[in-house]
Symmetry: C2
Subunit: 227 residues, 2 copies
């Protein structure tokens, strides 16, 4: 191994070995470049990666420190549901349970930054994995992003239509646990009150809100990632 990855490994090793304990200032880029016999840019690359991982804290003039109370950063992959199901070699299908124009509930209007009571498209979709209920998707969609006539979401999943036609957007995502409502339970085929893993996402373009979606995952769902 050589190059910036080798330097990252060596620095990490010195941190683990407590040569550079938590909170300590480490030598500056030029000194390390000399020590390792590489260009400063190579050291910069290695240290920047460690800073991104939360292991180091870097500030101009102040130098580079080992993070005292490291905030571990985990990267989650949020796949399209169909891709997630098919990655487990299961067959994916979806059924459109509801589709209606509805005024946006006030709480959601606030989260999306939309006018209260705005006319939104309400969609409820049940995703199936190998024919069994997998995820109940409840979505409010800004009709302004839709073409006229609107696509038939009975055949093409909404989410896939969005990623293909609206493109990349910003937003936020939240995870929680909720007891299954009567509606959740009916759709997912579980008992009311069962512990469900809930994902909630809001997405925006630069100019307008796009959608709010709540995913209620069938019992047993796990979201997993490497640290």
């Amino acid at each position: 191994m050589s190059g910036w990855e080798a330097i990252r490994a060596e620095v990490l090793s010195r941190i683990r070995r407590r040569d550079w304990p938590p909170g300590a200032l480490i030598p500056n880029e030029e000194a390390l470049a000399q020590e390792f016999g590489v260009a400063r840019a190579t050291v910069n690359r290695a240290l920047s990666e460690l800073a991104r991982a939360g292991v180091l804290e870097r500030r101009r003039k102040a130098g580079t420190r080992v993070t005292a109370l490291p905030v571990r950063k985990a990267t989650l992959d949020i796949p399209v549901i169909r891709a997630e199901v098919e990655a487990r070699s299961q067959r994916h299908a979806h059924r459109l349970l509801a589709r209606a124009r509805q005024p946006l509930p006030p709480a959601l209007a606030a989260r999306l930054g939309a006018p209260a009571g705005a006319d939104y498209l309400f969609l409820q979709t049940l995703h199936l994995a190998d024919g069994r209920p997998h995820v109940l998707e409840t979505r409010w969609l800004n009709p302004a992003v839709l073409p006229d006539p609107a696509p038939d979401f009975a055949t093409l999943s909404i989410n896939e239509w969005l990623v293909a036609h609206v493109g990349f957007a910003t937003g936020d995502i939240a995870f929680s646990a909720e007891p299954a409502s009567v509606e959740d339970a009916a759709a997912l085929g579980c008992a009311a009150g069962a512990a469900l893993f809930i994902t909630e996402r809001t997405t925006f373009t630069d100019v307008a809100p796009i959608t709010f979606v709540r995913l209620a995952h069938a019992p047993g769902y796990r979201l997993q990632t490497l640290l």
Copy 2:
């Protein structure tokens, strides 16, 4: 704005505008460098960031494509519990409920890559926020990583001792929803069967397993992040 961030923004804009639709091959680095009047390294930096975000897919010789079915990547911060509580201006405290040497349950031994029935330290800690139950932490700890004599975890939280003395490690993390067990309910002061948000982590150093920890969060907990 100028530099690599400007180029990233312009490329992203062309993708959103569908000048470069999903799946399309975009010009190579040298062509873009000429067009924007910058060095190839600057284009490389911009495109690498977009690839890291999952917007582009890059392969030598094959070139750079707009991701067809983008896998959104969300970065989660996993703070030390005390820091998380204090960040909300609440007072943190913890009580050590149990501490015992116990053989590692077979299921956990497999996950940690430890010999079945290995002698581990079992610790159960209740974290309080403003005096109210916040998280029930259930942990198995490899005694080999502890000094002799072992620290008194009644005063210093285990997790903080670990981050300060064992240092950075690899591992994995999983999130799920579970009904509260009788034990969970008693500790957290909620009803048995209530929907709890569960975090499970396993961590290793290069050479040995360190710990498995299960965090049962009190009802209402949300894990949130930006996309």
